[in-house]
């Protein structure tokens, strides 16, 4: 066992960090690193996201790990890791979570030639951005109980129903979702995975404002929306299996580990530079102890995330390994946000302005820290996965 990087890997890691460091300098004021809200909420944030995507695309980084026949370079998992780390550390967007992180690997694993040729080029070039049409008002963790339908009519599907919690749907060019295509088949055998253009007539996107007034979530209504039948991923009625493939790709967490690393460093700097009662906060024993404790957690999650990346690289990866990192890193994110808000004292409540230290990280972190714990399978669902598949405990009927 060794954690050593080769000279070539170190060079590639440095290259990713250098590019992201430059991009960080162009970050709009108040853009909250690591969260999704800043990407989708304002036009300024969205333009920054698109700009970063273009910068990555021209270096081939959005498709580096793809097979050559789809324009990739067969790059290794470790390059993806370095890319994630660099983006996380500098709080740089540009890698579309839905296209780059989730859909592309799913299409490469489970898509037919047609959808690959239709959707992969736009992801690689950073030109098209996606969204996920997943949850419904009465289908959250129990996704398979969804009721939106996509009925086959000739060479089209016609979609009706409602999706919700759709992050960035108001900005997205296209979306991917699961819909009921067979009204008589049993649960888990009645769904299909479809890709669709968000400009298709019959789609209505309404905002669901977050508690801090930010606009990242939406509800999406479908009223006789016609989608080409060739946009299906996998076979009709086997959409559930595709969702399982995809969920394995949405939990790689090194980007967020590095977001936390950066937040920790920012807090250390703040405590060194901020004097209270004539003493730097850094000398306060309680603050030292709490920051050190959270530094231990960051290091622990970093080591495990590397382990998971290494297992993915070797194709020995199990879903519960990723669940462990997801649970740990997201809850650590909540603890980090709470700690920062404690350290900032009364200024923790101030939004980005002259009175807000760390560009308003106090209030942003406190409000936005739920995004990762709830999204992508709640942590309670992840704990079920770990106990069933990691520990072999029985599932209650």
């Amino acid at each position: 066992m060794d954690f050593k990087l080769t000279d070539e890997q170190i060079a590639r890691r440095n290259e990713h960090f250098a590019v992201c460091k430059e991009l960080e300098k162009q970050r709009p004021v108040g853009f909250a690193a690591g969260g999704l809200e800043s990407i989708y909420d304002t036009d300024e944030g969205w333009q920054y996201h698109l700009h970063c995507a273009k910068e990555f695309a021209k270096r081939g980084w959005l498709s580096h790990h793809w097979p050559r026949e789809y324009g990739g370079e067969d790059g290794s998992m470790m390059d993806q890791v370095f890319f994630s780390e660099a983006r996380g550390y500098y709080g740089v967007p540009g890698a579309d979570i839905f296209g780059y992180s989730m859909l592309a690997p799913t299409l490469l694993a489970a898509g037919n030639k047609c959808v690959k040729e239709k959707f992969l080029p736009g992801i690689a070039s950073g030109d098209t951005m996606g969204c996920q049409l997943w949850s419904e008002p009465n289908a959250g963790s129990d996704l398979a109980s969804l009721t939106s339908t996509a009925i086959r009519r000739g060479d089209e599907y016609v979609i009706n129903g409602q999706k919700t919690w759709s992050t960035g749907a108001h900005r997205a060019d296209w979306g991917f979702g699961v819909f009921k295509t067979d009204l008589s088949a049993p649960k888990h055998h009645n769904l299909s995975f479809l890709l669709l253009d968000m400009k298709t007539p019959g789609i209505t996107v309404n905002p669901i404002l977050y508690m801090d007034m930010g606009h990242l979530y939406n509800e999406v209504y479908f009223d006789d929306v016609h989608v080409p039948a060739e946009n299906i991923v996998g076979e009709e009625g086997k959409g559930w299996q595709v969702t399982q493939t995809l969920s394995g790709f949405e939990r790689s967490s090194l980007e967020f580990v590095m977001v936390l690393q950066q937040q920790l460093e920012a807090l250390v700097k703040y405590c060194n530079e901020t004097r209270v009662n004539g003493e730097p906060l850094a000398k306060n024993l309680l603050i030292r102890n709490r920051l050190a404790g959270i530094a231990c957690d960051v290091e622990a999650t970093r080591c495990l995330a590397y382990r998971v990346a290494d297992l993915q690289d070797k194709n020995q990866f199990s879903i519960f390994d990723a669940s462990a990192v997801k649970v740990f890193v997201s809850e650590l994110g909540e603890r980090m946000a709470f700690l920062a808000a404690d350290i900032l004292g009364p200024y923790a409540q101030v939004k980005s302005s002259k009175w807000a230290p760390l560009e308003g990280f106090g209030e942003k972190g406190y409000q936005q820290c739920f995004v990762l714990t709830i999204a992508m399978g709640t942590n309670e669902i992840q704990r079920n996965i770990i106990s069933w598949y990691g520990l072999g405990l029985p599932r209650m009927k």
């Binding site: 030292r288 050190a292 530094a295 290494d310 992840q382 770990i386 072999g392 405990l393």
Partner: protein, 379 residues
């Protein structure tokens, strides 16, 4: 990067695990806890025959010349199975410091005997203050002819009641700072003036009080330099902390395995209790704590093995694993219910050791203060 162990390392792990499962069942562990000797000579001899005491000792001193990382694999198995006795103190607090700071003559004299399993070593560092820092060393060593005379009281000295040699820290000079003027001596444990008594501790692991009443030690038995022993001690503490963490992740693994198995077989309300989510989620958290602890320790053990600077990572790992071993074993007791509190059950063996491991070589707050400085907080 390769986060898997080599085939040879996996073989070493399996051999160690198999040996301990056969030779050191929990009935034996409890028996040794209740004895004064605290270890089994027959088992000790067999371990020596397997080469374990000489695992990290170079071949030129009759050892096997394996790495520190290899040693941590064996220690993890010892923690998983629970092995009472003087292996840890002999190898980690005896052989490694001699290898590190000993003169060529001292290495030739002492290491082959350790490798053969002929001698037991331990370290006498802590005193009344219980602190793992230089100000904790108050025992005095006064020069007399070509010897030194040591006076003081050492506490929490592991297995001193059966040890042949003690590595003892004493103050040879008053320095400007507490770290100056400390010297390490290698004492013959049977020397006149040494009085040893077993402290009644929770781990029943034979931590001793050692009275040093004007004990004479030849000057040539100084380990390292006169007055400059603290850096050697720091190095010992660093490696001992990693080694203790390796034992602890083994203990955590055992708690998870034993508890998951119990929750699958124990039936209440007509179903295995492991089918209840309240219990599943506790177990999932134990599993996450195990995984994070393991890779933290594997990384720092690798760094130490490669001689990379790792003081920050050691403090992080020790603080993290301290807390998680206690937490996992506490949950293990809870999930077992009443039976998990009984003397005859295996889980409390781990629960008690979790606190003992936490204390050894620096508790969590001590480690976190070190981490605070290493992450750049001004002090």
């Amino acid at each position: 990067m390769n986060t898997s162990f080599t085939e040879e390392q996996e073989m070493l792990r399996k051999a160690a695990g198999d040996f301990l499962a056969t030779e050191c069942p929990k009935t034996k562990v409890r028996e040794l806890e209740e004895s004064d000797k605290g270890y089994d000579s027959g088992m000790w001899k067999k371990m020596a025959d397997l080469g374990w005491m000489g695992l990290v000792i170079p071949e030129e001193y009759d050892g096997m010349g394996m790495t520190f990382q290899d040693l941590t694999i064996v220690l993890e198995e010892m923690g998983r199975n629970i092995l009472p006795g003087p292996f840890f103190c002999t190898v980690v607090e005896g052989a490694l410091p001699i290898l590190d700071a000993g003169s060529e003559r001292q290495k030739r004299e002492f290491l082959p005997k350790i490798a053969k399993g002929d001698v037991i070593w331990t370290m006498a560092l802590l005193e009344k203050s219980g602190l793992y820092n230089p100000s904790g060393v108050a025992a005095r060593a006064v020069p007399r002819a070509d010897s030194f005379v040591i006076h003081g009281t050492k506490l929490f000295v592991e297995m001193a009641q059966v040890a042949d040699y003690l590595i003892c820290a004493a103050r040879t000079r008053e320095g400007a700072s507490p770290a100056e003027g400390i010297t390490l001596f290698m004492l013959d444990a049977k020397a006149p003036g040494i009085h040893c008594g077993i402290m009644p501790t929770m781990g029943m692991d034979k931590l001793c009080e050692v009275q040093l009443d004007d004990v004479t030690v030849p000057g040539m038995n100084i380990l390292g330099e006169l007055d400059n022993g603290w850096p050697v001690i720091q190095r010992i503490l660093e490696r001992a902390a990693i080694a203790k963490c390796a034992e602890s992740i083994g203990g955590i693994q055992a708690c998870v395995d034993i508890t998951a198995a119990y929750c699958k077989e124990r039936v209440q309300y007509d179903r295995p209790i492991g089918a209840f989510q309240a219990l599943q989620h506790m177990l999932a958290d134990m599993w996450i704590a195990m995984q994070t602890s393991k890779y933290l320790v594997y990384e720092v053990a690798w760094m130490e093995s490669e001689n990379l600077p790792c003081a920050k990572e050691v403090a992080i790992a020790k603080a993290y694993v301290n807390d998680n071993y206690k937490e996992v074993s506490r949950k293990a007791v809870r999930l077992h219910g009443g039976i998990g509190t009984s003397r005859d059950h295996d889980i409390p063996l781990y629960y008690r050791r979790a606190k003992v491991a936490d204390i050894a070589f620096g508790g969590s707050d001590f480690q976190r203060e070190a981490v605070a400085t290493k992450i750049g907080l001004i002090s």
